[in-house]
Amino acid sequence: MINAVLVFNNHGKPRLVRFYQHLAEEVQQQLIRETFHLVLKRDEHICNFLECGSLFGGADYKLIYRHYATLYFVFCVDSSESELGILDLIQVFVETLDKCFENVCELDLIFHMDKVHYVLQEVVIGGMVLETNMNEIVAQVEAQSKLEKAEGGLSAAPSRAVSAVKNINLPEIPRNINIGDINIKVPSLSQFM
């Protein structure tokens, strides 16, 4: 069983958090922080599996993670799951996100938090793997989008807003803009292909 799905960036800021057992909010944040510290101190190109001791309530649990550009995808699973299988599942999840968002980046996870949840929900429900076939997942997500559009395009508005904002031509804004202040790196997740 999958106990938790955690996505955070290189600074440990959570971007998607899903626990499949009920935990108090402080405990959730604590687990995110500790998981981040465990994962952060590991070199690249070493094992993707990692024992997390008593962190998630017993030696039976493992963290299985992948690092994509600025984001860590961490699944916490018990011994009933296949490690390599979960590693594949993370890949399926990320590839699906990439298809749904056309070159997914960290900002997509923020601006479209609801949609990211819906994609995850097509892959994992209640800690169990629902679907692994990417085409099937994408089809489900697209069917949802169609329904949303059919309901008057209200829900399409935020994404229109985002793209409009993203397309602002910065030099034309007659103000002194200090972009150096922004420390958000926007990753392109397309590298894994």
Partner: protein, 944 residues
């Protein structure tokens, strides 16, 4: 920076909030705000305070929107719920919006329903009061026959999975799952939903007709349905194997069809050229719930499948992508697990072992990790144990060269698992080697493993002793008590190793710096068996003793205690050094040691060595008898360390600790008289007199029941003796002293108080040379005081000789709080004159004050709670004397409260706390004394 480079910089944000660009961009205000909020939250991540401030503002805004009169449209609700989810993600608790989310569930619009369900699955506590409302909405959606709505509802049940949901839907979901007309995607969700409910409340999911139909889902056309059904059946079969027995043959045939298919047959479920890897893994897991199939046909087919999977591993990869090899190997590892689980086909086991052997040297770290892990289980099979052992060099190499601690840990596990009599010496040596550089996190575990292996496979116990001493030398800090207790048990039980052990510890102790654990083992063993090596002049008794004693002062108290026992054993073993040892025991550092245990041992051992005869000494200090044989406690410790119960143990320890702390937070019952210090005579504050004793009302004789009405004189109680008030105030902070003195009489007091009880000794001294006659002291309580204070006095002899002193005892019980003090009236005849005088007896409320220590935080929290005007008294007054901090502190302690240092942020202030004990109640009382430069002092007292 990619397209994200166009995110709004802060200036633009402000710009937009002023509404200037909105129109030009053609955006609705709401959308923009939404984006801006998200962005502001992002950049404000730099300062936690700023983020919290911003978020609280946003939360207040959303709350007012929800509470407002205007009904929100669907889009706004969605937007705000979305914002709440984001704020929750950032780690802020969300305590509202639940009702709005529940309302969204009953919307007919898909988008609203969807966001409502999302909010509920992420944020709703499984025992929320809203669960009834949520269940109602789910019930409607399940009955809607709309597959999208049904999907949402099922996802929600699976995600929340509460008992209430199980009660409501455990009967319904199996029907949906096996109904002929249910859509595939709904079936998938239903299967997992049922699985979740079974996991949380197995008692609410009864097996029934549906089970056989679920088993047949393994034949379903849709591989997604088969995958979900396999997960469900695997869990159910673990608890009800008989019920799902038929799934074995179906799973085998399904697996066979996948494994033998051309990769294109399964279309979408082929992942990087591997046919349905996920389903294959699940089917192999399901088969691990059962023994090898009995039906030879099924068994043959399964063996064929497993062989095919092993064969495919040798084929060249169809793609260079890591995903391809991952998927392929996921299936392969699961197949190997099944082979190990069946443990019946030697041929397959050896092939599996060889395959894992290949992986041990694979360049992918993940595969090396998994290979080590799988080999651990393989090592316990009798068919493959020997085959596993052939890889010992590779595993040892892994221990030395792997960069990843998780992998090294697996290598240690595997070495432990493959260890037997033939390779124990090599494996233990390698583990000891590794221990020198091992990660701190796994040292203790390695120490335990080495200790167990060394004992289990010791042919020669000298090797065992060497190994343990090495362990202590290399990783002394990680050697737990169990380990060194065990080596002593073994040495004592085996006389063939005792001489060697004594010699070895003696040599090991020669090192200039040795670990305390070595001193313990050394001390114990030499104390028992030092005589075995005493013949050698290099380890004569005196040298042994001096060697041990040279470590003595560097050791902790328990080790010193152990060494003292060794010394007394030496007195018996080596009578020739008895005087040397007695000199050591007699030294001030032993006999007057601050530690009670050490002092006691030194005193008793010294005495024993002096008075006991040789025979008695020999009997008392005889060699330890052998320990009863029992299972190594080290093994138990390792099991505990690795076992799943680790967490609960930890929690228990935590609980114990916190209860300990609670315990110590209780007011220490210190004898009040012990606390009271003879206070300096300068009465600089008049402290306590102000709030506690108002000017006592003039006691009237008619109101006093204790007045001796039979007295031959007019029983008028004299007015208070002049000067007695001053004296009285002095006794507020002390318990002993002279209360009153004139030409004839001196009255002294000694008193002690404990909780709500006290006892006062009053001493009447006749300063003259003439007898006092009809000497009648009476303690009088006013009407107001009487219910609060119980006083019992014993009558005294009516004659007091000249120069003599009589004593009177007053037993005191404080029933409830009180303001006045009792009056002591004394009447007697001196010469021919009748004497009548009264003094206030210094029994004040603060005598029943027990000090309480508390932290600064506790203090001020409680201080603030006591805000009721009746609970607080403040008095500002001019100090009569210059203030001396030490005197003031002594006063506060004498007053009975604890003096709390470093509690008040202003170091000039004094802070005290205590509990006033009365028979009826206990009253917490806090006190602050704030001196200021103008020598004005303010005392505030708060009581609960």
């Amino acid at each position: 920076m990619g397209r994200g480079g166009a995110i709004i910089p802060p200036d633009v944000c402000i710009f937009m909030q002023h509404g200037c660009v909105e129109r030009s961009l053609g955006l609705t205000e709401g959308c923009l705000r939404h984006c801006i909020l998200m962005y502001v939250l992002l950049i404000s991540g730099k300062s936690k305070e700023a983020e919290i401030k911003r978020i609280n503002k946003e939360l207040a805004n959303i709350r007012s929107k929800f509470k407002g009169d205007k009904a929100l449209d669907g889009y706004s609700k969605k937007k705000y719920v979305c914002k709440l989810l984001f704020i929750f993600l950032l780690g802020h608790d969300i305590d509202f919006g639940h009702m709005e989310a529940v309302n969204l569930l009953s919307s007919n619009r898909y988008t609203e329903k969807q966001i409502g369900y999302l909010f509920i699955s992420v944020l709703v506590n499984s025992n929320s009061e809203l669960i009834r409302l949520i269940n109602n909405a789910i019930k409607n959606d399940l009955a809607s026959r709309n597959p999208t709505f049904m999907g949402l509802a099922l996802h929600c049940i699976a995600n929340v999975g509460s008992r209430e949901m199980a009660e409501a839907f455990a009967g319904e979901i199996p029907k949906i799952l096996v109904a002929g007309d249910t859509m595939d995607s709904v079936k998938q969700s239903a299967a997992l939903c049922l699985l979740r409910l079974y996991r949380t409340s197995p008692d609410l999911v009864p097996m029934g007709d549906w089970t056989s139909r679920v088993v047949h889902l393994l034949n379903d056309q849709h591989l997604g349905v088969v995958t979900a059904a396999t997960s469900l059946i695997t869990t159910l079969a673990q608890k009800n194997p008989e019920e799902f027995k038929t799934s074995v043959s179906l799973a085998v045939s399904r697996l066979s069809r996948i494994v033998t298919s051309a990769s294109t047959d399964l279309q979408d479920y082929t992942y990087y050229f591997v046919p349905a890897p996920w389903l294959s893994v699940k089917l192999l897991r399901l088969l691990q719930c059962y023994p090898p199939p009995e039906d030879p046909a099924v068994r043959g087919r399964l063996t064929e499948c497993l062989e095919t999977i092993l064969n495919k591993a040798q084929e060249p990869p169809k793609s260079k992508k890591v995903q391809h090899s991952n998927a392929k190997n996921a299936v392969l590892f699961e197949a190997i697990s099944l082979i190990i689980h069946h443990d019946s086909e030697p041929n397959l086991l050896v092939r599996a072992c060889n395959q894992l052997g290949q992986f041990l040297q694979h360049r992918e770290t993940n595969l090396r990790y998994l290979a080590l892990e799988s080999m651990c289980t393989l090592a316990s099979s009798e068919f493959s144990h020997e085959a596993v052992k052939t890889h010992i060099e590779t595993v040892i190499n892994a221990l030395k060269t792997e960069r990843d601690v998780s992998v090294r840990q697996r290598a240690v596990d595997l070495l432990y698992a493959m260890c037997d009599r033939s390779n124990a010496q090599q494996i233990v040596a390698e583990m000891l080697n590794y221990l020198e550089t091992a990660d701190y996190s796994i040292r203790e575990e390695i120490v335990l493993k080495v200790a167990i292996l060394a004992e289990k496979y010791a042919v020669d116990y000298t090797w065992y002793v060497d190994t343990i001493l090495n362990l202590i030398r290399i990783a002394g800090d990680y050697v737990s008590e169990e380990v060194w207790y065990r080596v002593i048990q073994i040495v004592i039980n085996r006389d063939d190793v005792q001489g060697y052990a004594a010699k070895t510890v003696f040599e090991a102790l020669q090192a200039p710096a040795c670990h305390e654990n070595l001193v313990k083992v050394g001390g114990y063993i030499l104390g028992e068996f030092g005589n075995l090596i005493a013949g050698d002049p290099r380890s004569s008794p005196l040298i042994q003793f001096n060697l041990l004693h040279s470590k003595f002062h560097l050791c902790s108290v328990p080790t010193r205690a152990l060494l003292l026992s060794t010394y007394i054993k030496f007195v018996n073993l080596f009578p020739e050094i008895k005087t040397t040892i007695q000199d050591v025991l007699r030294s001030d550092s032993q006999l007057k040691n601050a530690d009670v245990e050490l002092q006691q041992r030194a005193v008793e051992y010294l005495r024993l060595s002096t008075i006991a005869s040789t025979d008695i000494l020999a009997t008392v200090l005889e060699e330890m008898p052998p320990f009863p044989e029992r299972e190594s406690s080290i093994l138990a410790k390792l099991k505990k360390k690795k076992g799943p119960g680790t967490v609960t143990d930890l929690e228990e320890i935590k609980k114990e600790r916190s209860s300990d702390m609670n315990g110590s937070a209780e007011p220490a019952s210190v004898n009040a008289s012990a606390v009271s210090t003879p206070s300096p005579s300068a009465d600089l504050l008049g402290l306590g007199a102000a709030p506690l004793t108002n000017s006592a009302p003039p006691p009237s004789s008619s109101g006093s029941l204790l007045v001796d009405v039979f007295s031959d004189s007019a029983s008028a109680v004299a007015p208070l003796a002049p000067g007695s008030d001053d004296n009285f105030a002095r006794f507020v902070c002390k318990n002993n002293g002279v209360l009153f003195e004139n030409q004839l009489l001196q009255i002294g007091l000694k008193s002690e108080f404990r909780q709500n009880l006290g006892r006062m000794f009053i001493f009447y001294g006749n300063k003259t040379s003439t007898q006092f006659l009809n000497f009648t002291p009476t303690v009088i309580c006013s009407d107001d005081l009487q219910p609060s204070l119980n006083l019992q006095t014993k009558p005294v002899d009516p004659t007091v000789d000249g120069g003599a002193q009589v004593q009177q005892v007053v037993n005191i019980e404080c029933v409830s709080d009180f303001m006045e003090a009792p009056i002591l009236n004394i009447q007697f005849r001196y010469g021919g004159t009748f004497q009548n005088l009264s003094v206030k007896l210094p029994i004040t409320l603060n005598k029943f004050f027990q000090p309480t220590e508390m932290s600064s935080q506790d203090f001020f929290q409680r201080w603030k709670q006591l805000s009721n005007p009746k609970q607080e008294v403040q008095n500002i007054f001019k100090a009569k004397h210059p203030m001396d901090a030490e005197i003031t502190k002594a006063k506060i302690i004498g007053f009975g409260s604890a003096l709390l240092e470093e509690v008040d942020p202003n170091p000039a202030n004094f802070v005290g706390a205590g509990i006033i004990h009365t028979k009826t109640t206990q009253i917490g009382c806090l006190l602050r004394l704030e001196p200021n430069l103008q020598a004005q002092v303010s005392v505030s007292v708060s009581t609960a």
